[in-house]
Every structure is written in structure tokens, then in C-alpha cells.
Symmetry: C2
Subunit: 342 residues, 2 copies
């Protein structure tokens, strides 16, 4: 029994063959990283809002192989194939990369969108082996559009693949900002526990001391949940909303997670972002968000200098911003396809 | 007598009407900023190499009005119009901006390329007045493609104008690197003397002391020449080559000029770039050049930290790099036009 398609808020067992053009969204996560969950949520909202003529169908990455087989049976030239965005293109997360390769190299006659990603193939034999596998797979698809979510990735994609490469922000930045009007109290440290972590534990402790004024609650968390096992398109929006509410209660966010910065942007919460192992947050910050007052990126490790930066952020005022026009390159590609087909 | 077209290495008085498709390059500088001269040189080399089917005709910005009138008389739908790239779109250089507006708002039926630029409209009444004038002019042209040379400008262009916006490096980065095999001796300070300057004189003096080992000649210059009055397409290449040779003799370049960093990239010369008033060099560095070992960008003012950075750069090894694939978005637009017309 196939039971792995999500349409709207329902799991469906059989793909609809109703003549409507379909937008197949592969690579949808079931794991508990709220950044990645927010990406898949935002991608759906983007297509549903900008291209309502498409029926949006999500396929969990855990069902990638069966999903591909089922889609192959019903796909027509008007349909669009996509793979989820995020920060996992490359050799660091081979499960995701291998699912992505299968999708790109299977639907070679359909417009194929790789939603905004950062890319990092390590400069070592394993990394270069993975790189060759990806080149082989991606280059089979002449209708593949890779979207880079930062300029460094844009350069890397263009020098690595033959595909068209577009440049837009991370999909989560398509979501509208929200003002919860909460009273803010506390500082939240949203820190990685994975291989991309570079910020030193001693520095984290120094920052906690610095922010602790005896009244302000200081908490540490990660945007990867550990109190649930599994998040799906049916449960992600509620958890995402709860996470935004958590952020909107804070006076300050200290993080090395790119999406924690994005949640801070959306909720108007002061945030200082530290680097990860290959600069994905840093680049995306300078490319899209440097003009936003209440957030900043730093490589600094001198507590005195950090104190100044945090003080400045906590005293900043929010203001309007609009990143919607930055998704224009993606819009044009889908709109062009949609017009050709009509 | 019209005497303001440059075709190849000749000034021509009458535009050729030979049936060949033409590429009209407006906004060509006659002033002595070698960065801007290099941009116009590189743009010509780009079109001549990638699209040799076009006859490339340059029009000096000083002849903008007469040039527009003459081109209007002979232009056909196969022809392409362009305006030179650089770092002067916005309200800081109103002469250039006003020449650009005229070109964009005149040839509204032709594919129009604004070569890679940085953009900066100041957030004050004069800046916002200039902005409105530019919006009015640019938005008249539905075939206008603005090319941004850094992500900050890409965002600003997309949120400011209705035009298509592409993303590529500065045109000078299209030129091939050169290895002169010179013996290197000396440090060159290539510093602005204009309104974009932010680096402090005292810091410059400290850096000179730091680099002065008693044997190493320390010179200060600017990439804007003051020993000639005028540079044109007939004289620019020789001066550009001489500038690259000057750079290729140095052990170290200290600069706040983006194009001095580009000349350092092309000649494999260690270079530390400081900021200008609105971040155009910083952004272009992080977007395209962070992976190049022998150059770096800094906002630092602590001499001890700068000493470390300079030491690291002077001991770095050169390596291959390739930015040609990063011009792909521009290539596709011109190639598509060229194919439609054929």
C-alpha cells in the first residue's frame, strides 16, 4: 500500500489523476530539526500562494524510492518536480544527497527545482567521490534549476554543475514577520550539538555570565527538538508556531544556527549569530540580512567586543523589511513554465 | 560632425549600417580611474569573446546625448544596448546616473543590459529624490536587465526596480589571471582620496611602519591616475597592463579600492582590503573571492590583529581559480536574444 503522499493536511494513498498540474515536493523531512521543517513549510506556502494552479503534493524523504516509482506512473509534462531546500547539499549528509540525486536523475524531462540550498563538498577523497556522483546525477537533467541561498553557494554550484543556477534567500525568509506583542524576558542560547559546531564552550559560558543579571532567565536549547520523535507536514506548523512564540518571548538569542537567526528576524528578536564549520550562516547573513538592525553575525571571540555587540542589538529598534522581491528569479522560472504549458 | 564612436581601436565618425547585429556600449569613461577603465575593457573583451557575431561599438559618456541621437537613427531589433558597469549606480555620482537613465529610458524596445554594478541611493531627501528619478526611467524599459555584482546590490536592485535582476561578479573578474614572474619587492598602499574613504590616516601610518623593514620600499598611490588627463578605449589597455605590472612587483597591497583587490587577484599579489563608506568591496569580496588565499577583507583597526592578517597573506600560496562560470546568467540572456533574432 502506498501511503506516502501528503496533499494539504492529509496523507493520501493514491495520487490524484484529475488533470490538474502537479507540483511534486520531494525530500520532505520527518526529523525534528525545526529549521528544516520550516523550510518545507515555507516552500509549500510559497507555491500555494504564488502558483495556486498547481496541486502541491509532498513526499517524505523516508519514502523517496517508493514515491519516485509512484510519481513516474502518473507524471505529465505540465508537472513540476522539486527537492527540498536547506543547508545539506554536498558530502556532509549523504542520505539527503543520495535521495536528491535519485530525484534529479529520474525526472529528466520535467522542470526540476532544487529549492534554495547551501552546498559544501569537502575537499578530501570522500568529499570528491560524492561530488562526482552528484555531478553525474544532476548533469543528466537538462531542466534542472539549482537555487542557491547564499552567494558562496551560488559560485560553488555554478563551478560544479552544468545546471541553471538561480539566487534567492532561504525559503523561510519568504514567510511574513509576526509581532506577538509578548513581554520579553530572558536570553536563549540556541546551539548546535552536531559536527558543524565551532563555537567554544568556554565562550558560551562567558556569554551566559555576561547576560545573567540575576533576574533574566538564561536557557539553552537547540532548534532540533528532542521531546518528539518525528515531525511531519501534518504536525510541523504547530511546532513551528510554538518555536516562534518561544523566540518572541526572549530579549536576546545567541546562536550558531542559521534558522535561529531567521526565526529572530521573523519575530523581531535581537540575535547574534556565530559561525558554523563552513560559513553557511555567515554568507546568508551578509547577502540578505545585513540591513536588519536587530541581528548581527560575528566571528569575534573577545568577550569585551561581544558585550558591545550584544548591548547594541538589545537596544535596537525593529523596522519593516521586505525580502519577497528577492524570490523573483524563482518566480520567473516557474511562471515561464506555467505559461508555456497553458 | 559626430566623432564619438569607438569600434575596435578606431574612432569612427559614422555608424556602420552593414546589417551586422550591433552591441552598443554606452557610458564608457574618459576619466582616469583605472578600475572603471578596466571594467569597460573587460566588458568589451567579454562580448567579443562570447558573442563575436556582434559588432561592438563604444560611446563615451561625455558624448552620451549625441550618441543616443545617432544610435536612435540606425538601431534595429537585433541590436543590444548596454551601459557600463562599476560601483556608481545610485545617488553618489549623479552625472553617471543621469546618463544611465537617458540610455535606459530611450531604447525601450531593445534588450538593454546594465553591466554589473553596485548600487547605493542614500537614505536622505536628495538620495530619495534621485531614487525616484531612476525608478521612473528604468521602469519604462521592459527589456532592461540589471546585473548586480554583489548580493547586497542584488537585493537592493530587486526591491527598488521592476527590472529583471541578474547576479554575476564585476566584469574585471572575467579577465584571465596573469603570472608575470617578477621578483617582488615593496608594499603598495592604494588608497582613496574621495568621499567613500573611511580608513583612518593614523591606521595607514601604523601599517606603513609595520611593513617597513628598512629594505622594503613603501609607496602610496591611488588607482586613479593623476599624471594623465584622460583615458579612452584607445589608451586604456596599455595603462591597465602597466598597472597590473606595478601590482605584480609588490609583496603586499593595502587598499580600500575594490578594483585594487581585483588587480591583486589577477596578479597573485597578497592584498588586504579595507571598507569604503557603503560596503561595496566587502560584499563583493565575501560573495566571490573568499576562497582566494592571498587576499582578505577586514574592518579591523587593531594593529596587532592586522599584523597577523598581513603576515598570513604574505606567506600564502597562489592557486588556480575560475570565475568564468559565474557569468552564466548574463551569457544566457544574451544568447537567448541572439537565438530569437537569428
Amino acid at each position: 500500500m502506498s501511503n506516502f503522499f501528503i496533499k494539504g493536511n492529509k496523507t493520501v494513498t493514491v495520487l490524484p489523476t484529475n488533470g490538474r498540474a502537479k507540483f511534486f515536493a520531494f525530500g520532505i523531512p520527518n526529523y525534528t530539526n525545526l529549521g528544516d521543517q520550516a523550510v518545507s513549510l515555507a516552500s509549500r506556502k510559497y507555491i500555494e500562494k504564488e502558483f495556486p494552479e498547481y496541486e502541491y503534493i509532498e513526499i517524505l524523504e523516508e519514502n523517496n524510492d517508493e514515491g519516485i516509482e509512484a510519481v513516474k506512473k502518473i507524471i505529465t509534462s505540465q508537472d513540476i518536480v522539486s527537492f527540498v531546500g536547506g543547508g545539506n547539499m554536498g558530502s556532509l549528509y549523504t542520505d539527503h544527497e543520495s535521495a536528491r540525486r535519485k530525484v534529479f536523475s529520474t525526472f529528466i524531462n520535467n522542470l526540476t527545482i532544487s529549492f534554495p540550498q547551501s552546498i559544501n563538498f569537502e575537499d578530501n577523497p570522500q568529499g570528491q567521490k560524492e561530488l562526482k556522483l552528484s555531478q553525474e546525477a544532476y548533469n543528466k537533467n537538462p531542466h534542472l534549476y539549482l537555487v542557491a541561498r547564499d552567494a558562496q553557494s551560488y559560485h560553488r554550484m555554478q563551478t560544479t554543475f552544468k545546471s541553471h543556477v538561480l539566487f534567492t534567500p532561504d525559503m523561510v525568509l519568504y514567510l511574513n514577520p509576526r509581532d506577538f506583542h509578548f513581554e520579553r524576558s530572558g536570553a536563549l542560547f540556541a546551539l548546535r550539538r552536531d559536527g558543524e559546531k565551532v563555537i567554544k564552550d568556554e565562550l558560551v559560558e562567558e556569554l551566559k555570565d555576561l547576560l545573567d543579571n540575576g533576574q533574566r532567565p538564561i536557557k539553552q536549547t537547540d532548534t532540533v527538538l528532542d521531546d518528539v520523535d518525528r515531525v511531519t507536514p501534518l504536525t510541523r506548523e504547530k511546532l513551528f508556531d510554538q518555536e516562534l512564540e518561544l523566540f518572541a518571548h526572549q530579549e536576546m538569542i545567541i546562536t550558531d544556527r542559521w534558522h535561529a537567526m531567521v526565526f529572530s528576524v521573523l519575530t523581531g528578536t535581537p540575535c547574534l549569530l556565530f559561525g558554523n564549520s563552513y560559513g553557511k550562516g555567515k554568507h546568508a547573513y551578509f547577502d540578505w540580512l545585513e540591513h536588519i538592525n536587530w541581528i548581527d553575525y560575528t566571528d569575534e571571540s573577545d568577550p569585551e567586543r561581544l558585550k558591545e555587540a550584544i548591548h547594541r542589538l538589545m537596544n535596537s529598534k525593529t523596522h519593516d523589511f521586505d525580502l519577497h522581491p528577492d524570490f523573483e528569479q524563482l518566480h520567473r522560472v516557474i511562471a515561464r513554465h506555467s505559461n508555456i504549458i497553458k
